[in-house]
């Protein structure tokens, strides 16, 4: 959230506008007066085209391509958009089918929902619909482990391909009007290519860096550090970024891809991730002993200082393990002359939860930038509010807020800061939610 949303809105809306225009031109070319079309016919046709464009966009996002990530404002934000686009595409597919029911033979348009009883384009559509539906239900089933969920979700490209084949077989405008056909073919190829790359080739072909485990460190309260050493070229990154890791050849840790926030400074050769051991995978990671190979894919994310280059005063709020990106930023502040005034709030429930307090204190004393640090224990002082922060920081002008904390806390703080008059584009937060 935060920063300008215009590019990502345009990136979604503009293709839909172009699709609509081309569809309208196809109708005009065929001598159809658009006003003579029934609303149902128009909705049937347009929803089919929109769902292909939106599904293709959703699939493009999964490639983790740097340019696409930038366009959509960071990988976690891109993935949130990916989820929304998938939901909208599903609704469009359902609407498309429902609009076909009245004019379809058989009771309640039964043949629409039963495969292999009609023409081959319709069979493709039926199979696509059921595949999409079943995968969507499994996607929303939160009880699945992340990796199982991911392996099932990866097949979402299949209904996309099937419905695209259906569209080209059944949609007369696509067959008859070259500009619309080329435009839609482009989206189908982009979407199908993105799906194939992400599902079948990414593990082997995606940009990655080779590291080995150096050590893990128990910080207390279930929080661990994982420190890696590069074996060849190290990954360059900005403080605040995150990366996916995949452990190789470990007897217990599966070679899955999981995202972790970087907590080390980019000037150091070692790469440190900090995490809370609370899931199936993270509880296994502490057993990653020295020497095991780890592939690092990244860096990702836009939770960095560079979008706020014009501002020199920052409020940083790290809630619990959300302090991780700020550890990286703070470590980096020891080694740069780009002076900033920073108010850092480390919010924890109990004093024992403030496992990085000593490390932060050490950084604060030696940072080039001027850092005012407050450890906020909510059990003792109640929840941290924007009003309290502004009381600490004094009257502020020209400042920006960066937050990494539980989503509920970030949403509440964002509302409070906006109420104080801070523009929304000066509030940036990251919740690292990829599901």
């Amino acid at each position: 959230m935060g920063l300008s949303s215009t590019p990502r809105v345009l990136a979604v809306v503009l293709p839909l506008v172009i699709t609509t225009l081309l569809w309208g031109l196809a109708k005009l070319r065929d001598g159809v007066n658009l006003w003579d079309l029934t609303a149902v016919d128009a909705v049937t046709q347009v929803t089919a085209l929109y769902s292909i464009v939106l599904m293709s966009t959703a699939l493009l996002i999964t490639t983790r391509c740097r340019a696409i990530e930038r366009l959509y404002g960071g990988l976690d934000r891109s993935y949130r958009l990916h989820a929304r686009l998938g939901e909208v595409a599903l609704v469009l597919v359902v609407v498309h089918l429902l609009t076909l029911v009245p004019g379809h033979p058989g009771p309640s348009g039964r043949s629409l929902f039963v495969p292999f009883v009609d023409t081959w384009p319709k069979t493709f559509a039926t199979v696509a619909f059921w595949t999409f539906g079943v995968l969507a239900v499994l996607t929303f089933w939160k009880k699945l482990s992340y990796q199982k969920w991911l392996s099932i979700h990866a097949w979402m490209g299949l209904p996309f391909v099937l419905s695209s084949v259906h569209a080209f077989g059944a949609h007369s405008d696509l067959r008859g009007f070259e500009p619309l056909r080329t435009w839609m073919l482009l989206w189908v190829m982009l979407g199908a290519g993105a799906w194939m790359y992400r599902t079948f080739f990414y593990k082997g072909a995606g940009l990655r860096y080779q590291y080995v485990a150096d050590h893990t460190a128990d910080r207390g309260g279930g929080v661990w550090d994982l420190v890696l050493r590069p074996t060849t070229v190290r990954m360059n990154y900005e403080p605040g970024k995150f990366a996916f890791i995949s452990v190789k050849d470990h007897p217990e840790i599966p070679p899955e891809h999981h995202p972790f926030s970087i907590s080390s400074s980019p000037v150091h050769r070692e790469l440190r991730f900090s995490f809370k051991a609370c899931g199936d995978y993270t509880t296994l990671l502490p057993s990653l002993h020295k020497g095991y190979k780890v592939e690092v894919f990244g860096p990702f994310g836009e939770f960095t200082l560079h979008p706020f280059g014009l501002h020199r005063r920052f409020v940083w709020i790290g809630g619990g393990i959300g302090i991780t990106p700020f550890l990286s930023m703070l470590a980096f502040e020891q080694t740069n002359d780009d002076f900033r005034k920073i108010w850092l709030f480390y919010c924890v429930r109990t004093d024992a939860d403030a496992v990085y307090h000593d490390e932060i204190k050490k950084y604060v004393d030696v940072a080039d930038s001027y850092v005012d640090y407050v450890k906020w224990v909510s059990d003792d002082r109640g929840p941290l509010t924007a009003k309290t922060i502004l009381e600490f920081a004094g009257p502020l002008d020209d400042y920006a807020v960066m937050m990494c904390a539980p989503p509920k806390m970030m949403r509440a703080m964002r509302k409070q800061f906006i109420r104080t008059g801070l523009p929304a584009n000066r509030i940036i937060f990251e919740d690292f939610n990829f599901r």
């Binding site: 002359d337 002076f339 005034k341 940072a367 850092v371």
Partner: protein, 112 residues
Amino acid sequence: MRITGEKRGSVMVFTLTGRLDYQTSPAIQDELIGQISKAEHRLVLDLSETDYVSSAGLRVLVAVAKRIEQAGGKLVLCALREVVVEVLRVSSFDRLLPVCAARDEAVALAAA
């Protein structure tokens, strides 16, 4: 960092050359606090040769200013480079410490 001093009437003027940062600030702080202990309570810090002031450097300036204030004296900064002006402005320390453009002006202000 190098520090050199000269006496201008009742005012002691120090020129700081180099970077005032985490590594150099303890020695500079010791030197300046030492001068205050020797009853030098009117100080001018000429920062025309100072390349950079970090947060640790700012803490030194504040510590020295506080010590002088307790002794009833005055600390004035002068001839700041653009980068140092920016540091003081961003941190709002320009509201706490008197700053003059020229050394003579700073000496006059410290002596007043």
